[in-house]
Structure formats: structure tokens, C-alpha cells
Subunit: 215 residues, 2 copies
DNA sequence: TAGATTGTTAATCGATTAACAATC
DNA sequence: TAGATTGTTAATCGATTAACAATC
């Protein structure tokens, strides 16, 4: 069987599955590093992600030989390699809509900063909340949403608002030019087809986890 | 439920993928019903979930002919069918560890109640928080965790605590007999192999969404 | 060396997609 | 009827897994 050229170009666009898995490896490596580990094996990553260890080695070896046989992967260098593959080296500015309990919980999480995601602005409609600080960031009036998106070079809008306000907020983000929306509300959003909506729904995950472990 | 079993046996255990997708359909249907809709097409479900419409029809038709050609699916009846398939009709009791901002946000979300998941108890180590109410539920002292798990028939523990406390809380849940842990912290948890850990990590999803829409 | 773990192959299984007849 | 959408098939693609030589 005639084979294609030995090194097929891995610089092509990743599949959704590969990008999702690489992101999870990144998170495990970040945490393992914080715990003081210097090396990690594919089996350890598998234990934390429930992704098959062979699949992990396969994913990584498609981009290079990052591991050492008999030893495992160096956490620092693997972090760098995956960041290169995902091109998430730069800073990404996001705007948070909603300074309630969920919004506060999101801002206070170290996860975003660890991955180069910068919460550049927070807006809320409640006059009581405008001017207050959540973490390091002052809460702006909701009416400034459009200006903030332009001035702060916002590329992602994160919705941490009640379901009843989510559609309106999504429309205002879209009108300001935001093309990626992260929806933490339970609402279904109608947006133009060139806008990507990711709805993050922990309760849905829980439901399916229940199915699996109760039967 | 006097229905004769179809020829192929769909009473077998579902695959992980099917169970996860059915859970997402359930969430979309629940929301669409709240919005006053009575019917929905596979294409509409596809728009909200980013799951291919053919895949949705295929998933559903494996369990019966729930739709009407030219019309779509009746939301109420499809909700009932999927709940039957996932066997999530009953009440499931969960215990929440941590009454901070994230814990409060979780309790105040209507999603859990909508899917028959009952937050039966909340514990926290902070004496300031013990005795207070979060939503309808009083906060108990962390030391009562074991008793609460037994008395309230808890099957799932939800961790909404800082990463530094997560491992200890996981161990205490495991010692009390809990076999399903939902981890909203960024910590990596080491638990016995018969305990299932689901880590829900919005920032990781965001990271991979960024890869897809920035390139 | 002896043990451990990667990198890789090959086989299988499930997901995805286009297409379209059936039928509401 | 005419338009819409399901249910289903068939082809293809990606994920999963076991196995194991290479090699640290």
C-alpha cells in the first residue's frame, strides 16, 4: 500500500474532539504543576480525565514526541507544547454580564487567569451594584456594554444573568460585535448563525452522571 | 407502560454518548416548554445543541417513533419518553459542600428542581454560615456530613469549595458512603476506583471554544 | 539489567453526514 | 395538493481499545 508523505501536516485545523481533549489535558497539567509535580504519565492524566491513556498518547504523538519512554511527560514542556498547538498563548479579553453570585464566583476563580483569559470588564443593570468592585474589577453600568466591547477589545461575552435577561443581553452583545458568547444561564439563545454560543450546564452533566451510576 | 418491547433491546445499558445527548435534549425541551412551545423539530433542537439533526432523529428513533412527519415532536410527550429512557423520574437527593458564592448560585438555580434533583442538605466549615439559610435550606455544620448522608439518603455529593479543601471534602464524602461526586472546584481529586468523579469546568470549555473561533 | 511507559499499529465500534422515501 | 419533517439507510470518518516493540 502506497503511503502518503511521511510527515502529514499537523498544522491543519484540529477536529473538535482533539481540541476539547487537549484543553482538558491543559487543565490537568496546570493543576498537577500547582501540586508540585514535575512529571506525569498518560495513565495519570487518564485517571483524572476518564480519557483512555492510549488515546492521550495518540493525541500527543500526532504533534511530536513529547514524552520519555519509561518516564512520562515533563509537565512544563508539555504545557508549552499544548499551548502552542491551541494557540492560546496570548491574552484574551472577556466581558462578564451580571455581577450576582454566579458572576462573583466566576470572577474569583483562578482558572481564567491561569489560561490567559482576562476578565476586562463587568456590567450589571442594578444601580446598587454599579461602581462596586468584584475582585479587582469595577462594575460598570449595563448601558456602557457597547463602548466597553470596543474600547477593551472584547472578543467573548459571558452571561451570568437570570434566564429572563439572557436573550436581551445576548442581543446587545451581538450588536456590539461580539461573536463568541458563553451562556451560564439555562436559557436557550437565538443568535445569528455567525455567532457561537456555548451553554455550560452543570445540571445536565449531573443528570447523565446519575443515569450512569444509578443503574 | 404496557408497551411491548421492540425487537432490538433498547433496555440495554445506553452508551455514554447517547446518555449525554439525551440529557441535553431533555434540557432543551424543558426550556422550550417554559417558553410556551408545544412542538419542536429535530432541526430546532440541533440549533440549540449543535448536535446534528440526523443524529437527534436517530437517537430518538432507536427507542420508538416519537415524532410526526411534517410536524415534529410534541414537547410534553418527548419529555416523558426521554425521562423514561434515562430513568430520572424519581427524586435524587444531593448534598452540597460549601455555602459560598458558588454554592449559593447552585442552590438558587431552578435547573436541579426541574430535573428531579433535590438539594437535601448543605454543609460548611465556617461557623458564621452554619444556621443561615440558603434558599430554603439551612446550612449545617461540616461535622454533620456523615450523619446527613445517612439520614437523608444522599447519593451525590457536590463540591463547591476552594481547591485547597476539595480533596479533604471528597475523602469525607467517600467515608460516608457517597459514590458519585460532582466537583466544581479546579482541584484534581484522588478517590477509590469505585467512586465516580465528574469535574465540571467551564473555563476549559471556554478555552477550546476560543481555539475554534479565533482561528 | 529490570521495570516502566511511550509511540504506534491494527481491529473494532460509535458518531457523523448526505440522501431520500414515507407520510403528516 | 404542496410543503415540511420524520425515520432509515449507507458510506465515511473519528474514537476507542488491546497489544507490543522500542527505549528510557
Amino acid at each position: 500500500m502506497l503511503q502518503a508523505p511521511p510527515q502529514t501536516a499537523p498544522t491543519d485545523r484540529l477536529t473538535v474532539g482533539v481540541a476539547a481533549r487537549l484543553s482538558r489535558y491543559l487543565q490537568v497539567l496546570t493543576q498537577a504543576k500547582k501540586m508540585g509535580k514535575a512529571r506525569i504519565s498518560s495513565q495519570e492524566i487518564s485517571d483524572y480525565t476518564n480519557i483512555n491513556a492510549t488515546q492521550i498518547r495518540r493525541d500527543l504523538s500526532a504533534f511530536g514526541k513529547f514524552g520519555k519512554r519509561g518516564v512520562g511527560y515533563n509537565i512544563d514542556s508539555l504545557l508549552g507544547e499544548i499551548r502552542k498547538i491551541l494557540r492560546t498563548q496570548g491574552q484574551h479579553n472577556i466581558l462578564l454580564v451580571g455581577a450576582g453570585r454566579l458572576g462573583e464566583a466566576i470572577v474569583s476563580s483562578p482558572i481564567f487567569a491561569e489560561h490567559g483569559i482576562h476578565i476586562a470588564a463587568i456590567v450589571d443593570t442594578d444601580p446598587e451594584k454599579v461602581g462596586r468592585h468584584v475582585g479587582d474589577i469595577g462594575v460598570s453600568d449595563y448601558g456602557e456594554l457597547g463602548d466597553l466591547v470596543r474600547d477593551k477589545n472584547i472578543i467573548v461575552g459571558v452571561l451570568a444573568v437570570p434566564a429572563t435577561s439572557a436573550q436581551q443581553a445576548a442581543e446587545d452583545l451581538v450588536d456590539s460585535g461580539v461573536k463568541i458568547i458563553f451562556n451560564y444561564s439555562e436559557a436557550l439563545l437565538d443568535v445569528p448563525s455567525d455567532v457561537a454560543v456555548h451553554t455550560s450546564n452543570p445540571a445536565v452533566d449531573l443528570l447523565y452522571a446519575l443515569y450512569f451510576h444509578l443503574t
